[in-house]
Symmetry: C2
Subunit: 428 residues, 2 copies
């Protein structure tokens, strides 16, 4: 019996995690945490009978405690409650399905307490990859990716000897430490980042030579910039293959989502950015691939169902039967591939830049995107404004090398302040 | 430093094995064996300085010994010499690249002596899979597949927990034991074989749910039977993707080659025939795939270069850098898939039948094909005559269950005798 905590249990990944638990008799939920959907959280608590539930707002936590008065479940609140859920004694694996930078601290707490992490929170590695992977190595815990692309890569790497294996064994690759050089001038020079140069020196003979991240290309694949000027929120929310939340669906349309995944892959698998290639694969049947030094490529394929990577993270290193669609290759007929159009989807190119610059720059990239997507969804910013906003925020930021969590959270706050100021009537 | 023996060193796989050895400083050749190409064998002996060379003919072995008089290499002959090479002290891995049933006995000898096998001889598993896998388990040796498809499957299974793992660990799946029922009437009932039913009972909850063997479809893909009536030897030798020997290229055109691979996969990976699916994939980029009980599919992809699976078998479980073509997915553009047309390529359907019947039937399938392909290459038999010959030989044979090596070799001899008699002017 494996005991798990699910942080973000009422969201898309959280509810699918609980579906997986329903299908596996030897998984048990010991803690649940949610932001504001208290009614669903209460229903989940009644079904799974965890020892602890955490909700952000203190008043709501009190209401929830009263509602659950006939059960053994204790309700807690705030960041303290979230971290208590992350560190609960007896829990083996913490599923971090909280959206946003709020997920970083509980993830670090869980690692500190020696829990394996089933990682679904993108911001954790994008903004604090060096802290998280360093702590995971120190504590000997596993960072098990839940994202379909990273899970695919992780599955392909099982049983393969490769340099810099940062995941399963916790033995490690080097730290990226940013550089603090002038960033605006650097934006003109793709591939000149300092972190990258360092990784390259160390990774010369690595048997893992390439990570091939597949991308659906989103609803606007094939369009040029002119064709993106007037796209609406409804257009951007029509993802061709996956059913996901609104924020991530817009990120898919801008390809910023793929950019964030590139940065995550850099930390999860300990490879430099030159070795992470994005290939557009509209059918989304191949979830990602790896290439070794002998030229062999391994790929993981499957139906578009997040329950598969979630279950694999929870039952790793074993696999368990799971109902669902199976691939029928003759029925599929054809799998196609294209280069990503980084000229049109500049958000992806900027992700490589932010990643290569390192330090606090990925935090700025992520925060500016978050701010801009919210504006786009409210109808206040055009689609191409998302990319422009990210670029402007990156240009205005001087990256700090090797930031601690406070420096990362400061960079996020400063980015928001800069964007609010520059978009207000009296701003620049 | 790993010491290897190469049986069949002057053939296609043998020479490519030596190319791999040239690129790896920690591989050493201790024994070489060849059939009749003594001049090439002598050159190989001068380059690699093995302790032993084996050649089939005794007189040629004596000549070779004289020619190599200035070296430390000893020349031996016959089946005794072949088995001596297979059992040579200090050798860790024996590459069995001999073509034909003559490869079985030295393979069994090598296993008996505790050597790992890099298996390139198809007949070994097709005709004596139960003996070879049983002996390998008993002696705790690895059977490392060299064929690109089986190597692909083997690569995909690394680090994956699955039932019946017959390869890496040597821990095992059950014996197939044939059934000896009347075969001619059975040919009408696809899927009713006895060995299969038994495997099914045991494999119910196996996490490995499907092996997907890819097939190029050969030069005649898309044709119907009418379009195969008048094909010439030259037509059949035009393989679209791989450069191989004449026999195997014709086997590719009839899809008998894929049928033999299906039977090999059954033994290598311990799965029943219902779980081995052939999918036509004309680009030959995906070398094969496996599906697990959670629906995840892993695939191995690569350029069409046999040196990759050869090297992987020799450096397993590690991988080493290897020069060569790399896959460019955007350049490839599209990978396509079709159901195999078993009505037109009846040799593939017959392989499933022979495999399901088990016992000596796969030997008959293989021997009849060998005999018929030789006739086709001499211009004495039409292309469709190959399939007809296999069917006739299978119908005339009463399969013996669980045959020992003598029974297998007898079945081969009887098949030839039957075919000679039935094709002679006085035959039926």
């Amino acid at each position: 019996m494996k005991s798990i905590a699910v942080l973000g249990s009422t969201g898309s990944i959280g509810t699918q995690t609980l579906e997986v638990v329903r299908g596996q008799r030897d998984l048990k939920v010991a803690a649940l945490a949610a932001g504001s959907n208290v009614s669903l959280l209460e229903a989940q608590a009644r079904e799974f009978r965890p020892a602890l539930v955490a909700v952000w707002d203190e008043a709501r936590a009190r209401e929830l405690q009263i509602a659950l008065g006939d059960t053994q479940t204790r309700a807690v609140s705030g960041m303290g409650g979230l971290c208590e859920a992350a560190q609960l004694s007896g829990v083996e694996t913490v599923v971090t399905a909280i959206v946003g930078m709020i997920g970083i601290r509980p993830t670090l707490s869980a690692i500190e307490a020696g829990k394996d992490i089933a990682l679904a929170n993108k911001e954790t590695l994008v903004t604090a990859g060096h802290l998280v992977m360093g702590k995971a190595r120190e504590k000997g815990v596993r960072i098990l990716p839940v994202d379909s692309e990273h899970s695919a890569i992780f599955q392909c790497l099982q049983g393969q000897e490769y340099a810099g294996r940062g995941v399963a064994g916790g033995d490690g690759h080097s730290m990226q430490d940013g550089c603090g050089r002038d960033i605006c001038s650097e934006l003109a020079h793709a591939g000149s980042g300092c972190a990258d140069a360092k990784a390259k020196q160390q990774g010369g003979s690595a048997p893992l030579t390439r990570i091939i991240l597949t991308a659906s290309g989103g609803p606007f694949r094939g369009r040029k910039r002119e064709g993106l000027r007037d796209v609406t929120v409804a257009d951007a929310l029509k993802h061709p293959n996956w059913s996901m939340g609104r924020k991530i669906t817009v990120d898919s349309a801008t390809m910023v989502n793929k950019g964030l995944e590139v940065m995550e892959a850099r930390w999860l698998f300990g490879v430099d950015f030159d070795r992470i290639q994005v290939v557009v694969h509209p059918q989304s049947v191949i979830h990602s691939m790896v290439e070794f030094a002998d030229g062999a490529v391994l790929a993981q394929l499957g139906a578009p169902d997040m329950k598969l990577p979630i279950q694999y993270a929870l039952t790793y290193p074993g696999r368990r039967p799971m109902a669902g669609e199976r691939l029928d290759f003759a029925g599929i007929g054809s799998l196609t591939f294209e280069e990503p159009d980084m000229g049109t989807f500049g958000g992806l190119a900027l992700a490589y830049e932010a990643g290569r610059m390192g330090g606090t720059m990925p935090t700025v990239y992520n925060a500016a995107n978050e701010w801009a997507v919210a504006g786009f969804l409210r109808g206040e910013l055009p689609f191409l404004g998302i990319e422009e906003t990210i670029r402007a925020a990156m240009c205005a930021h001087r990256a700090a090398a090797n930031p601690d969590l406070d420096a990362i959270l400061n960079a996020e706050r400063e980015t928001y302040e800069f964007l609010v100021a520059s978009h207000s009537p009296t701003g620049r």
